[in-house]
Amino acid sequence: MTLDWRLRISLIAGLIVVAAFIVLPAIQAILLSFEGTDSFVVPATWVGLANFERVLVMPEFWRDLGTGLTYAIVTVCLQLVLGTIFALILNVPLKGQALFRGVAILPYVVPTVVVAISFQWMLDGNIGLITQIVRNLGLGRLIWSDDPWIALMTVTLISVWMWTPFVTTCVLAGLQTIPDNLYAAARVDGAGPWSRFWHVTFPGLRSVLIVVIIMRGIWMFNKFDIIWLMTRGGPLGATEHLPILSYSMAFRQYDIGGGAAVATLSFLILSAFVALFIHLFPLQEK
């Protein structure tokens, strides 16, 4: 089908908005990575690939890339699994369903800074509520921030807690579009609950899940605020990923060119992953 002129105009308008407000700033961010500058305001000197050469030999860059990938992959997988399970629970007609759904979205509603404080406090090494519960259960002393691995796990789990409602709600919406007669047909064929899930529900959620994975994948790879507020990349760099490295360089160490180079590299890597994913799981069937 071809477009009529009204639709063409709306598409072009959309394109202009995208160009002005997304692509243009992104181009500027990339340009900064070729400049040696400590300011966003004064025109800077062109240094070519010097920033990239400098960044690529930093051991921190590669360590942070690994941490970031781990963090993104684990959080996205957990969010997907939990979000789908939660959506299935919330899809069962129960009394008080609206209430259950309302509460289930709450973690996403609370400002990140408050989530960070609440968890820091509940996890305080001495008086923290969770710390005390763990101790009373005889599981020893939980000092999440002292152990690099546990610190990474903690920010991972908190991130999962915060952003699972996104997946839950998307899947819940997706579930509404699966026609009931498909389930009925499956029942007639004698399919059990598992089989119905795999053969009816899961395929029905395919396109929603693909979009959710792309969105969440990009978001989690670039997620900055919760980690910054909880650990600032510590202890000993255990929770530092590329967005934190980029921010610290540009906004704490007066190295905007270097920070932009990290951001640009991170962007290239992420684009490659997204392109690969879209290639493997196209939304648009060929």
Binding site: F21, I22, L24, Q97, A104, F119, A173, N222, S246
Partner: protein, 279 residues
């Protein structure tokens, strides 16, 4: 299948148990936050009691009388609703075009939108300031709405694209055969069917906008236009100790949204179960 009444009852119990478990998981940290916000300041750090014995509104009083909290709340609402309205309309149009028409390079166009997420927001926000200054929109809520739309629009387009794609084309064709124009077919058939998707996009545009700090801190300066995340951050300060007020503020942020979503959920998602796709 589960004709056995005992089995059926067991299933019910199990379903409720899971729903309640989910509620505790999602709600507990927020309950903890709310309980702390009504603790008397002197006992704020001394107790972990989950059921308040003494309720004090001190933190709320400080918050409402000595900060611009109410104003910030209104600003956040205006920005979030503006973002939702624009996002929904524009993303429906673009997503529908992309899903139903042949347009050259549409994947690239829609792909480009994802750039908004691939850069650390601060690097995007600072150049945006220059652009808004050229447009004469410095320090206005409109600039923040536009900035938020740049992050919520890709979400909307992508999500609805998937949604429209999953919807059988035959439904529209059937309507058009029945004499509807394409626009009417869209309005009468596609739109109602994709309501859950649209509501979802609306919800998340709202929340993206509602919780954004980065764009707001760069684009907004005056106290009169500040949004809640900015207010909470400066209230928290770096060197001061205002956790109680922050918890109170967060409670005031979470409560109305909780009510809103509870109502929304009843109206839209649940209502869709009886949609036309049943046929």
């Amino acid at each position: 299948m589960t004709a056995d009444p005992f089995k059926k009852a067991l299933l019910r119990v199990l379903q409720y148990a899971m729903a309640i478990g989910l509620m505790v998981y999602s709600g507990f940290p927020i309950y903890y936050m709310m309980v702390s916000s009504v603790r008397p300041p002197q006992e704020f750090l001394k107790t972990n009691a989950l059921i308040p014995t003494k309720i004090s509104w001190d933190f709320y009083r400080t918050l409402t009388s000595r900060t611009d909290f109410v104003q910030q709340f209104m600003n956040s609402f205006i920005v979030a609703f503006g973002t939702v309205a624009i996002t929904i309309v524009v993303s429906i149009v673009i997503a529908y075009i992309v899903a139903r028409y042949k347009v050259r390079g549409k994947t690239i166009i829609v792909g480009l939108m994802l750039y908004a997420y691939m850069f650390p927001p601060l690097f995007l926000a600072i150049p945006l300031v220059s652009i808004f200054a050229q447009l004469g929109l410095t320090d206005t809520l409109v600039s923040v709405i536009v900035a938020h739309v740049t992050i919520s629009l890709p979400l909307g387009v992508w999500f609805l694209w998937g949604f429209f794609k999953a919807m059988p084309f035959e439904l529209e064709e059937a309507a058009m055969v029945d004499g509807c124009t394409r626009a009417a077919a869209f309005l009468r058939v596609v739109l109602p069917l994709s309501l859950p998707g649209i509501i979802t996009v609306g919800t998340f545009s709202f929340l993206l906008s509602w919780s954004d700090y980065t764009f707001a801190v760069v684009l907004l300066s005056s106290d009169s236009v500040k949004t809640i995340p900015l207010g909470l951050a400066s209230l928290l300060g770096t060197y001061d100790f205002r956790w109680g007020e922050v918890m109170a503020g967060a409670t005031l942020v979470a409560l109305p949204l909780f009510l809103l979503f509870t109502l929304f959920s009843r109206y839209f998602i649940a209502g869709m179960a009886a949609g036309a796709l049943k046929g």
